[in-house]
Symmetry: C2
Subunit: 106 residues, 2 copies
Amino acid sequence: MEPKTPYYAVIFSAQRAEGDNGYAEMAGRMEELAKTMPGYLGFESARGVDGFGIAVSYWESEEAIANWKKHADHAEAQRRGRAEWYENYELRVARVERAYGMNKAR
Amino acid sequence: MEPKTPYYAVIFSAQRAEGDNGYAEMAGRMEELAKTMPGYLGFESARGVDGFGIAVSYWESEEAIANWKKHADHAEAQRRGRAEWYENYELRVARVERAYGMNKAR
Protein backbone atom coordinates (compact mmCIF):
# COMPACT_ATOMS: atom_id res chain seq x y z
CA MET A 1 0.00 0.00 0.00
CA GLU A 2 1.74 3.18 -1.09
CA PRO A 3 -0.61 5.95 -2.17
CA LYS A 4 0.71 9.29 -3.29
CA THR A 5 1.64 11.68 -0.49
CA PRO A 6 0.27 13.67 1.18
CA TYR A 7 -2.39 11.53 2.79
CA TYR A 8 -3.46 11.00 6.40
CA ALA A 9 -2.73 8.46 9.11
CA VAL A 10 -4.65 7.77 12.30
CA ILE A 11 -2.19 6.27 14.78
CA PHE A 12 -4.02 4.45 17.58
CA SER A 13 -1.81 3.13 20.40
CA ALA A 14 -3.60 1.24 23.13
CA GLN A 15 -3.22 -1.08 26.06
CA ARG A 16 -5.94 -3.73 26.06
CA ALA A 17 -7.76 -4.61 29.25
CA GLU A 18 -7.97 -8.25 30.37
CA GLY A 19 -10.33 -10.60 28.53
CA ASP A 20 -11.86 -10.49 25.08
CA ASN A 21 -15.40 -9.30 25.95
CA GLY A 22 -16.41 -9.21 22.29
CA TYR A 23 -13.38 -7.23 21.19
CA ALA A 24 -12.07 -9.57 18.45
CA GLU A 25 -15.47 -9.83 16.76
CA MET A 26 -15.94 -6.04 16.83
CA ALA A 27 -12.38 -5.36 15.62
CA GLY A 28 -12.92 -7.61 12.61
CA ARG A 29 -16.25 -5.97 11.88
CA MET A 30 -14.78 -2.45 12.10
CA GLU A 31 -11.89 -3.41 9.81
CA GLU A 32 -14.38 -4.59 7.18
CA LEU A 33 -16.62 -1.56 7.65
CA ALA A 34 -13.70 0.89 7.33
CA LYS A 35 -12.88 -0.57 3.91
CA THR A 36 -16.28 0.54 2.66
CA MET A 37 -15.79 4.16 3.74
CA PRO A 38 -14.99 6.95 1.25
CA GLY A 39 -11.33 7.92 1.30
CA TYR A 40 -10.12 4.73 3.01
CA LEU A 41 -6.60 3.79 1.89
CA GLY A 42 -5.45 1.00 4.17
CA PHE A 43 -4.98 -0.42 7.65
CA GLU A 44 -2.28 -2.24 9.57
CA SER A 45 -1.95 -3.32 13.18
CA ALA A 46 0.27 -5.22 15.57
CA ARG A 47 -0.22 -6.25 19.18
CA GLY A 48 2.29 -7.90 21.49
CA VAL A 49 1.59 -10.58 24.09
CA ASP A 50 1.59 -7.83 26.75
CA GLY A 51 -1.61 -6.45 25.20
CA PHE A 52 -0.05 -3.23 23.93
CA GLY A 53 -0.95 -2.60 20.31
CA ILE A 54 -0.59 -0.04 17.56
CA ALA A 55 -3.12 0.24 14.75
CA VAL A 56 -2.70 2.69 11.90
CA SER A 57 -5.41 3.48 9.37
CA TYR A 58 -4.72 5.56 6.27
CA TRP A 59 -7.10 8.04 4.66
CA GLU A 60 -7.21 10.45 1.74
CA SER A 61 -8.27 13.44 3.79
CA GLU A 62 -9.16 14.73 7.23
CA GLU A 63 -12.76 14.86 6.05
CA ALA A 64 -12.68 11.10 5.41
CA ILE A 65 -11.35 10.56 8.96
CA ALA A 66 -14.07 12.74 10.49
CA ASN A 67 -16.70 10.90 8.49
CA TRP A 68 -15.42 7.51 9.71
CA LYS A 69 -15.22 8.70 13.31
CA LYS A 70 -18.91 9.60 13.36
CA HIS A 71 -20.25 6.47 11.62
CA ALA A 72 -22.88 5.12 14.01
CA ASP A 73 -21.49 1.57 14.28
CA HIS A 74 -17.98 2.91 14.74
CA ALA A 75 -19.15 5.39 17.38
CA GLU A 76 -20.64 2.45 19.29
CA ALA A 77 -17.33 0.56 18.97
CA GLN A 78 -15.48 3.61 20.31
CA ARG A 79 -17.83 3.81 23.27
CA ARG A 80 -17.31 0.14 24.13
CA GLY A 81 -13.55 0.58 23.64
CA ARG A 82 -13.42 3.29 26.27
CA ALA A 83 -15.70 1.41 28.64
CA GLU A 84 -14.55 -2.20 28.24
CA TRP A 85 -11.58 -2.92 26.00
CA TYR A 86 -8.82 -0.42 26.72
CA GLU A 87 -6.91 0.55 29.85
CA ASN A 88 -5.49 3.52 28.01
CA TYR A 89 -5.03 4.80 24.48
CA GLU A 90 -3.62 7.66 22.48
CA LEU A 91 -5.01 8.64 19.10
CA ARG A 92 -3.05 10.87 16.75
CA VAL A 93 -4.10 12.27 13.40
CA ALA A 94 -1.08 12.91 11.20
CA ARG A 95 -0.41 14.07 7.66
CA VAL A 96 1.94 11.67 5.84
CA GLU A 97 4.52 13.82 4.08
CA ARG A 98 6.68 11.13 2.51
CA ALA A 99 7.06 7.37 2.47
CA TYR A 100 9.39 4.70 1.21
CA GLY A 101 9.87 1.01 1.69
CA MET A 102 11.45 -2.26 0.75
CA ASN A 103 9.96 -5.64 -0.13
CA LYS A 104 12.25 -8.61 -0.79
CA ALA A 105 9.36 -10.62 -2.24
CA ARG A 106 8.77 -8.10 -5.01
CA MET B 1 3.69 11.24 26.29
CA GLU B 2 1.65 14.08 24.82
CA PRO B 3 3.72 16.97 23.46
CA LYS B 4 2.06 19.99 21.93
CA THR B 5 1.03 19.59 18.28
CA PRO B 6 2.29 19.89 15.65
CA TYR B 7 5.18 17.45 15.97
CA TYR B 8 6.39 14.58 13.78
CA ALA B 9 5.96 10.82 13.75
CA VAL B 10 8.03 8.22 11.94
CA ILE B 11 5.78 5.21 11.38
CA PHE B 12 7.85 2.10 10.67
CA SER B 13 5.85 -1.02 9.72
CA ALA B 14 7.88 -4.14 9.11
CA GLN B 15 7.77 -7.88 8.72
CA ARG B 16 10.69 -9.49 10.55
CA ALA B 17 12.71 -12.24 8.88
CA GLU B 18 13.24 -15.56 10.69
CA GLY B 19 15.72 -15.69 13.59
CA ASP B 20 17.11 -13.01 15.87
CA ASN B 21 20.58 -12.50 14.29
CA GLY B 22 21.47 -9.76 16.73
CA TYR B 23 18.24 -7.84 16.20
CA ALA B 24 17.03 -7.61 19.81
CA GLU B 25 20.38 -6.31 21.07
CA MET B 26 20.54 -3.69 18.32
CA ALA B 27 16.90 -2.65 18.77
CA GLY B 28 17.52 -2.01 22.48
CA ARG B 29 20.68 -0.07 21.71
CA MET B 30 18.94 2.08 19.08
CA GLU B 31 16.04 2.83 21.45
CA GLU B 32 18.54 4.10 24.06
CA LEU B 33 20.54 6.04 21.49
CA ALA B 34 17.45 7.72 20.04
CA LYS B 35 16.62 9.09 23.50
CA THR B 36 19.88 11.04 23.47
CA MET B 37 19.14 12.73 20.13
CA PRO B 38 18.03 16.37 19.90
CA GLY B 39 14.30 16.74 19.28
CA TYR B 40 13.41 13.20 20.42
CA LEU B 41 9.94 13.08 21.98
CA GLY B 42 9.10 9.41 22.42
CA PHE B 43 8.86 5.90 21.05
CA GLU B 44 6.37 3.04 21.09
CA SER B 45 6.24 -0.31 19.36
CA ALA B 46 4.27 -3.52 19.13
CA ARG B 47 4.97 -6.78 17.34
CA GLY B 48 2.68 -9.78 17.02
CA VAL B 49 3.67 -13.44 17.09
CA ASP B 50 3.56 -13.43 13.26
CA GLY B 51 6.58 -11.10 13.25
CA PHE B 52 4.72 -8.10 11.87
CA GLY B 53 5.43 -5.00 13.91
CA ILE B 54 4.77 -1.28 14.00
CA ALA B 55 7.18 1.12 15.69
CA VAL B 56 6.48 4.83 15.93
CA SER B 57 9.03 7.40 17.05
CA TYR B 58 8.06 11.02 17.73
CA TRP B 59 10.18 14.08 17.01
CA GLU B 60 10.02 17.84 17.31
CA SER B 61 10.91 18.54 13.69
CA GLU B 62 11.82 17.04 10.33
CA GLU B 63 15.36 18.25 10.95
CA ALA B 64 15.56 16.10 14.10
CA ILE B 65 14.39 13.08 12.05
CA ALA B 66 16.98 13.72 9.33
CA ASN B 67 19.68 14.07 11.97
CA TRP B 68 18.72 10.76 13.58
CA LYS B 69 18.53 8.99 10.21
CA LYS B 70 22.13 9.87 9.41
CA HIS B 71 23.66 9.06 12.82
CA ALA B 72 26.49 6.61 12.04
CA ASP B 73 25.38 3.84 14.43
CA HIS B 74 21.78 4.16 13.27
CA ALA B 75 22.84 4.08 9.62
CA GLU B 76 24.62 0.78 10.34
CA ALA B 77 21.47 -0.55 12.03
CA GLN B 78 19.43 0.48 8.97
CA ARG B 79 21.86 -1.33 6.68
CA ARG B 80 21.64 -4.53 8.73
CA GLY B 81 17.87 -4.17 8.89
CA ARG B 82 17.59 -4.16 5.11
CA ALA B 83 20.11 -7.01 4.72
CA GLU B 84 19.22 -9.31 7.62
CA TRP B 85 16.25 -8.45 9.81
CA TYR B 86 13.33 -7.46 7.60
CA GLU B 87 11.45 -9.15 4.79
CA ASN B 88 9.76 -5.88 4.01
CA TYR B 89 9.06 -2.53 5.58
CA GLU B 90 7.36 0.79 4.97
CA LEU B 91 8.55 3.99 6.59
CA ARG B 92 6.34 7.05 6.70
CA VAL B 93 7.16 10.51 7.98
CA ALA B 94 4.04 12.29 9.16
CA ARG B 95 3.15 15.57 10.83
CA VAL B 96 0.93 15.02 13.88
CA GLU B 97 -1.86 17.57 13.65
CA ARG B 98 -3.84 16.66 16.74
CA ALA B 99 -3.92 14.06 19.49
CA TYR B 100 -6.06 12.92 22.35
CA GLY B 101 -6.23 9.98 24.69
CA MET B 102 -7.57 8.25 27.74
CA ASN B 103 -5.86 6.63 30.71
CA LYS B 104 -7.95 4.88 33.38
CA ALA B 105 -4.94 4.74 35.74
CA ARG B 106 -4.63 8.53 35.87
